[in-house]
Amino acid sequence: MDIDKAISAEPRRPAGASPIEFRLDPASGVPTYLQLVHQVEHALRLGYLKTGDQLPKVRDVVAALAINPNTVLKAYKDLETKGLAAGRPGQGTFIQAALTQVALPELSGLRRSLLGWLADADTAGLDEDGVVALFTSVLRDFYKRRGGQGDRGGASGETEGVA
């Protein structure tokens, strides 16, 4: 294999204007466009992306990941439908709104009570996988009971649960 020759043949990509760069996990089984959506949401939650920031240009994503431009467009359209991003003609797609954030003091309170619950679970003998399984199941039931209002901007409807 002429690996080094192949590397030198790769066209160099200009530095992107976006604060984030996408990656793909081919083994995850999650559809490619959804992986992009999740990564934007994740970056929003963690503060890597803020309102007004530009998402990577479609052409840059296509060049970097060798994926279908329709896939990127589909991901960006999904983000637009969710009200998180907006396209500006001739410029690109920009972050329009942050995900509904809970205020910081409340967040640390929630964190504290969760830690307490985890300690209880640990005492009761649940290991990490057990905690995840229990939490996931309760979480799903909770939002199911709320009649699908629990659109956390996540994988709603796409990754259907195995009942």
Partner: protein
Amino acid sequence: MNVIEASGLGRRYGGTWALRECTVAIPAGHVAALVGPNGAGKTTLLNLAAGLTAPSAGHVTVLGGQPAGSPMALDGIAFVAQDTPMYKNLSARDMLHLTRNLNRRFDQQYAESRLGELGIPLKRRAGKLSGGQQAQLALTLALARRPRLLVLDEPMAMLDPIARHDFMASVMMAMAADGVSIVLSSHVLAELERVADYLILMSRGRVQLAGEVDDLLASHRLLTGPAAEADRYAERLSVVHASRGEAQAHLLVRATADEPVPSGWEAHPVGLEELALAYLREPTTVLPGPDRARRRPLRSENGERTEAAK
């Protein structure tokens, strides 16, 4: 607009039909993947669409009704044949020169700047370029004709993983930049899974399944449940492929997500590769529509052949 439209298309070599009764319409604006085992008829179909061979039966048009092989059709299609054949003793520059003089339209500036970006020396003989560079040279010659449809026959079979990634990125860039429609063939679905949004599955000279990838995935489910109930349950469904062990059975069926699942059974969404494999394992199963989908009893299989459904 359909970039390729075939109706009753067939091609016979001697007494053997390489392609038969092929009726398919590939819409524009997609990356359409033609997938199937060796000898399925992929290359024959592409050659017919490109106008390189004449049909023995039926007819084929391209780019919205242009007869395949007509001057209008040839102008709009660029075809890169299997293993990107090249005049090995000609330099890259000579290959550009040759292609420019053989075509009505050729964007010399685009071709030169693209080769420059890729670091392919114009002076070097085509035969002395690496496999990846040869493929990129062939792609450059094709794209410089400014086609509306780019047809690639097994374009990446000879390439190492990095060259493969770069090649596919180049193809996708052409689509993003110029709106070129893409039709490409491969016997390895995995290498097209990331890019294809339209799938044509072929086996034994026939089209088995065709449609937008999202629609195909949404209309199939994998059901897992007790083997004892599988036969009775399968009666009521259109089963594409079944595999079972002593206790548990997996049925890949045509059904949407809102179809009710009996208790004791679980429904999972299917991946593209899983779906394609299920059809290819049952070459007689053809999907023209739900009404004609075949309902068949389960083939009894040994427990050891049970597929671990992933």
